[in-house]
Symmetry: C2
Amino acid sequence: MSDELLTIRQMCDAFDVTPRTLRFYEARELIFPERRGQHRLYDRRDRARLTLILRGKRFGFSLEEIRQLLELYEPGGTNRTQIAATIDVGRQRLSDMEQQYAELRIAIEDLKLQLTDAEARLAAMSSDTTKG
Amino acid sequence: MSDELLTIRQMCDAFDVTPRTLRFYEARELIFPERRGQHRLYDRRDRARLTLILRGKRFGFSLEEIRQLLELYEPGGTNRTQIAATIDVGRQRLSDMEQQYAELRIAIEDLKLQLTDAEARLAAMSSDTTKG
DNA sequence: CGTTTCGCTTACGTTCGCGTCAACTTGTGA
DNA sequence: TCACAAGTTGACGCGAACGTAAGCGAAACG
């Protein structure tokens, strides 16, 4: 079903990214597709990670920040201090995101106001004034 | 009161940016401080714009996108089509931001889950397992 | 059998958002 | 008058996140 392996092209189509991007993320150690011969093959885990990567990017996080976060989404049980550090990173990101969430709400309301204002102004100059 | 003119340094201190940044924004036509001789002076309007610029950046908009949006916040009454275009830009941004707002909510909940999971795992390996 | 097609690597190019000089003017104070 | 601070304009530099082109191997297609 969803645990089939995808080629790089299928991945690109599915996620709307370029091959270059996928190879780049791999070089930065954000995803680890297996190699069948020379070719890369992406499994469900890779897809999940890519989803998180794109999501993280959307919120303005750098690839390095995302890389650190990704450790949280894997049961990569190393040692206690390692895990604790990862958790701290996650908490920091969470805090950032909640902050951003609040700011975004304000920005949205603000923009809405300006829009209704501008729309009113536009309506006020009813269809003449076009000729300048 | 709040309509005093600020020097570039005062602006930098107030908004935690560098002079280079302010001049750069000016070069990109995002702010237009007046010139008293050679020196730049920033008024209330400039400060308002800078606030919006920094806010926009926070949400991942490019300076060019922000520049377009800024027109919405000024009564720069040119002609109808011009204003209408600006409004369209604003509506697009608003749509983007509302989309991002929703995604951010999901991402936050998701991250929270992973965090509690990780914290549970950390607690489970109660203080031994430290030795590799 | 030649030739696309797909993918791989290597490597240089590009855009954005500034940082970092260098060199110059302008006011201010000892 | 000299120095110094604050500001100015170039110009080059830089890291992030890719784009793009060159050149190669392997597979599939007619």
